[in-house]
């Protein structure tokens, strides 16, 4: 769907989150020049048509104790990528799964997924179990645990490029 300029303003304003006041959609509407009912209708349309992937509480896992977050990267033969990605996507422990390009010789991996655990050993066990079930245990891979999260600058809204579902820390 084509986004209208009102849609873009609305999504940009939502980057900071919905205010914690009794009528948050009215407050949001005031900032972007839309009535409360219009805000609700636009959000429903954006959700139904696909640009909005998810609407709700956006959680930071690390603060809840999920500190061993692994990005698992696999070098899957090209003809197998779709089947492998679909199998990984069915795993509950896998929160995100994407195909991305290889960059030889520096970067040989073409399938990425995220697995979260409270501690490293738990996460490694989950990764192992997932790969076994998916028949990918012999595929070349690397497991990249996250270390420091580098502090972000403040809001970036008004750039017309709101927050994505694409990347998970």
């Amino acid at each position: 769907m084509e986004l209208s300029s009102a849609d873009r303003r609305l999504l940009a304003a939502l980057e900071e989150g919905l205010p914690l006041v009794p009528r948050p959609f009215a407050a949001l509407g005031e900032r972007v020049g839309l009535a409360e009912a219009e805000v609700l209708a636009r959000l429903e349309a954006l959700r139904a048509a696909g640009p909005i992937n998810r609407m709700g509480l956006v959680v930071r896992h690390r603060e809840l104790g999920y500190r061993a977050n692994a990005m698992v990267v696999l070098d899957v033969p090209d003809p197998m990528v779709s089947a492998a990605g679909e199998r990984l996507a069915r795993e509950q422990a896998v929160s995100l799964c994407y195909a991305r390009p290889r960059r030889p010789p520096l970067w040989p991996y073409n399938l990425f997924c995220m697995v979260h655990g409270r501690e490293r050993l738990e996460t490694l066990r989950l990764v192992h179990a997932v790969l076994m079930r998916s028949g990918l245990e012999t595929v070349p891979r690397a497991v990249l645990f996250s270390g420091r999260r580098f502090v972000q600058r403040a809001a970036r809204y008004a750039r017309g490029a709101p927050q994505r579902a694409e990347a998970m820390p």
Binding site: E36, V58, L64, M71, A99, L106, L144, P162
Partner: protein
């Protein structure tokens, strides 16, 4: 590389906060008073829900009540990675984080030890940001745009133990 800064104890949510996290990562009620609708579903008051969410936000557990967007439906983005000499990591990370187009800037334990997402209005702008980072740091940046999603962010089932 192991993290060096100490982590605080994980936040311990109240029963209402847990219920909110379990129930409302994916279904924000699209009604004029969404917190009242959440409250009704959980047998609490609107004020209690607002207070509970504010507490989650203050603790850093709740990034926001809001939306996540499907990749590449609005603007363009990529996942980028750099292999930064250890002694330059803090400096390069700060330089990268200063770009308003950069989000999710993380250290990872690998030769490619700095990973971040670049989001902009167009692919050309994404490439401009990557080129600027390369020029300012003298280090190459891997550009790994999404080719195909198999699973998008659908929220995260939390286990409370």
């Amino acid at each position: 590389m192991r993290r060096t800064d100490p982590e605080p104890e994980p936040f311990r949510p109240t029963a209402l906060q847990r219920a909110l996290l379990d129930r409302f990562q994916r279904e924000l009620p699209l009604v004029p008073r969404p917190y009242a609708a959440m409250a009704e579903a959980l047998g609490a008051s609107e004020a209690e829900v607002i207070e509970a969410l504010a507490g989650l936000q203050a603790a850093g557990v709740l990034a926001r009540v809001g939306v996540t967007l499907a990749p590449n439906r609005v603007g363009a983005s990529t996942l980028a990675a750099m292999a930064v000499p250890k002694e330059r990591l803090a400096e390069v990370a700060a330089l990268v984080s200063a770009f308003s187009e950069v989000d999710h800037n993380y250290e990872r334990e690998h030769r490619f030890n700095l990973w971040f997402v670049v989001t902009a209005a167009s692919r050309a702008e994404v490439e401009r940001v990557l080129a600027t980072i390369e020029a300012r740091t003298g280090l190459p940046v891997l550009d790994l745009p999404l080719e195909r999603p198999f699973k998008l962010d659908l929220g995260f089932p939390l286990s409370w133990n």
